[in-house]
């Protein structure tokens, strides 16, 4: 456990040193501030649009951090040949992978927390400047339910990070980026595969589509931004099962990453 924490700490420190998360957080904050200006053209929909924009910014910047740092976690060590030094220390390969994953998740947690504070700050300011802003919306300005949407964004990013780490164990950064983003996109179209038999008569293809539906990451259920912004109900059951799915799927990906990495020869 200590070895995992050490690797995670190193990943976090490196990401802070790289300043990449900082620039993204600054950009997200600027975007949210810009959203306040945009809201002047929205015919009374300021609050909805700022919420949409804030949640989307958190999701997009989180995704960029997860993908672009995640794909380099293992491959960078291999390229720099620092992997030899690391593996000569009392750190097992599974601990190395889990530490890398935990480090990036810590980076994401800190970044998303910073973006969330800025997001709530903008919403609070809107409410303060214009107390009537809530009237046209179904949910209060600083709605605590936004945290559920943000929480599920973080959980979705755990799956994306695990994908990036998995691809990072055996492919180049470019290929790992393409495959991670490709699966993220596919993950949001996944629901179509489930209903494939309704549009195609071929049983074999329909069966294959159904298998793919269950095997590929299903990321659409993590997206409850619209429900939260419109004040629509989100059941506890949905949230718990979606988090459970993420835990299991992330476990599958990390196990696969460990399996690949354990057998990898660095000579």
């Amino acid at each position: 456990m200590r070895a995992i924490a050490l690797v995670a700490g190193a990943v976090f420190r490196e990401s802070v040193r790289d300043r990449v998360p900082y620039s993204m957080v600054v950009f997200a904050v600027l975007l949210m501030a810009a959203s306040y200006l945009i809201s002047q053209m929205t015919a009374g929909q300021d609050l909805k649009i700022v919420k949409d924009l804030g949640l989307a910014a958190i999701a997009i910047f989180g995704l960029l951090i997860a993908v672009f740092i995640g794909i380099g976690l293992v491959s960078k060590e291999v390229e720099r040949k620092s992997i030899y030094g690391l593996l000569s220390k009392p750190i097992s390969r599974p601990q190395f992978i889990l530490g890398k994953f935990a480090g990036l998740m810590l980076t994401l947690l800190v970044n998303i927390a910073a973006m969330s504070v800025a997001f709530y700050g903008v919403l609070w300011l809107m409410q303060l400047v214009n107390p009537g802003v809530e009237l046209a919306a179904r949910a209060p300005a600083t709605d605590p339910r936004l945290l559920i949407a943000i929480g599920l964004i973080l959980v979705e990013l755990a799956v994306v990070t695990a994908l990036a780490v998995f691809f990072s164990t055996f492919s180049s950064p470019l290929l790992a980026t393409l495959m991670t983003i490709g699966l993220w996109v596919a993950g949001h179209f996944n629901a179509d595969l489930r209903h494939f038999e309704k549009v195609i008569d071929n049983d074999a293809i329909a069966w294959l589509a159904r298998v793919l539906y269950y095997v590929l990451p299903n990321l659409a259920p993590f997206d409850i931004k619209a429900e939260v912004v419109h004040g629509l109900p989100v059941t506890l059951r949905h949230v718990v099962l979606t988090v459970a799915y993420a835990v299991v799927y992330t476990g599958v990906l990390l196990t696969a990453a460990v399996a690949v990495f354990r057998r990898r020869d660095f000579k």
Partner: protein, 304 residues
């Protein structure tokens, strides 16, 4: 012997950047004075299909809906306030359709959208049919939103003068769980005296007092002012008829009529504009420069 490298000063470069930036701005200002970018009469919407836009937006449908909503508001405002004589609102319905396909719960897009669409030229495209279509789409997605049924009733009442249909929709809105209590009696009043100014006034007052949306309140206030202006025009026409009966000719201008009637000021409409007086016939009407122009079709709102 190793010495620390002396960093060169960048002051000149910073000054150069600032100077070049000023020149770039100046060049743009000069260029924009003599050049207008080509603007087609009717813009092109590359994506018209809601389901396609929904797919392309991945998990950011709401954000895409917001972008298209802003585009719809800017488009409507741009055409309405534009200098063109003939206002072309062709893109309005496709834009609103796209917004509501991307975000089916975008309440304001249905409600404002229907107001924009039903507004007659030059203030809007004058398409109450599209306004009803949009609201019906909203009701299909969110069947408990009684306000959409209420708004459909309004469109039938105010723009189409179809009081049976209006009453039917008010009744339907009142039957939806949580629907406003005043909708059922409104349906009865609409059937009994649909189109009278008093019932119209009641309709708009209820809408203004029951909504939490500023724009709908503003729109209802404007309609109420239009009804007041119509009442005032009726009164003023009576005054000019009395003038004609006494003098055998219509008043030449407001000053003459005001002096004859003993008024201290010239009559102005609720938006602050002077009414138009035709010196040839003595007919009083709303000035075309008034903020309340055009008044609703008298066919749809009968006198008291």
């Amino acid at each position: 012997m190793t010495g620390q490298r002396i960093l060169p000063s960048n002051r000149l470069l910073y000054a150069g950047i600032a100077a070049l930036m000023i020149v770039a701005v100046a060049v743009q200002v000069v260029r924009d004075r003599g050049w207008q970018p080509y603007e087609p009469e009717s813009g092109v919407m590359w994506i018209r299909s809601g389901p396609l836009a929904h797919r392309l937006a991945l998990s950011f449908d709401n954000l895409a809906a917001d972008v298209y909503w802003i585009r719809a508001v800017v488009y409507y405002g741009g055409v309405r306030r534009g200098a063109r004589q003939i206002k072309n609102y062709d893109q309005l319905y496709p834009l609103l359709d796209l917004v509501t396909s991307l975000d089916p719960y975008f309440r304001i897009a249905y409600r404002f959208g229907s107001i924009f669409l039903a507004e007659p030229p030059p203030g809007g495209p004058g398409r109450p049919d599209q306004a009803i279509q949009l609201l019906q789409k909203g009701l299909e997605r969110d069947p408990l939103r009684w306000e959409y049924a209420e708004d459909i009733g309004f469109v039938y009442y105010w723009w189409l003068a179809d009081y049976d249909k209006a009453a039917e929709w008010f009744k339907r809105g009142g039957e939806i769980p949580g629907g406003a209590e005043w909708l059922a009696p409104l349906a009865a009043v609409t059937l009994a005296e649909g189109g009278s100014r008093d019932s119209s006034r009641r309709l708009w007052t209820e809408l203004r007092d029951s909504t939490d949306m500023e724009w709908i309140r503003t729109s209802a206030d404007r309609r109420l002012q239009q009804l007041d202006a119509m009442d005032a025009i009726d009164e003023l026409n009576k005054n000019t008829q009395q003038f004609i009966a006494r003098r055998g000719r219509p008043p030449a201008n407001w000053r003459e009529l005001a002096a004859d009637m003993g008024w201290r000021a010239m009559p102005i409409d609720p938006s602050g504009s002077t009414y138009a007086l035709d010196p040839a016939t003595g007919r009083v009407s709303l000035s075309r420069t008034s903020g309340l122009w055009p008044l609703p079709d008298e066919r749809s709102v009968r006198g008291r």
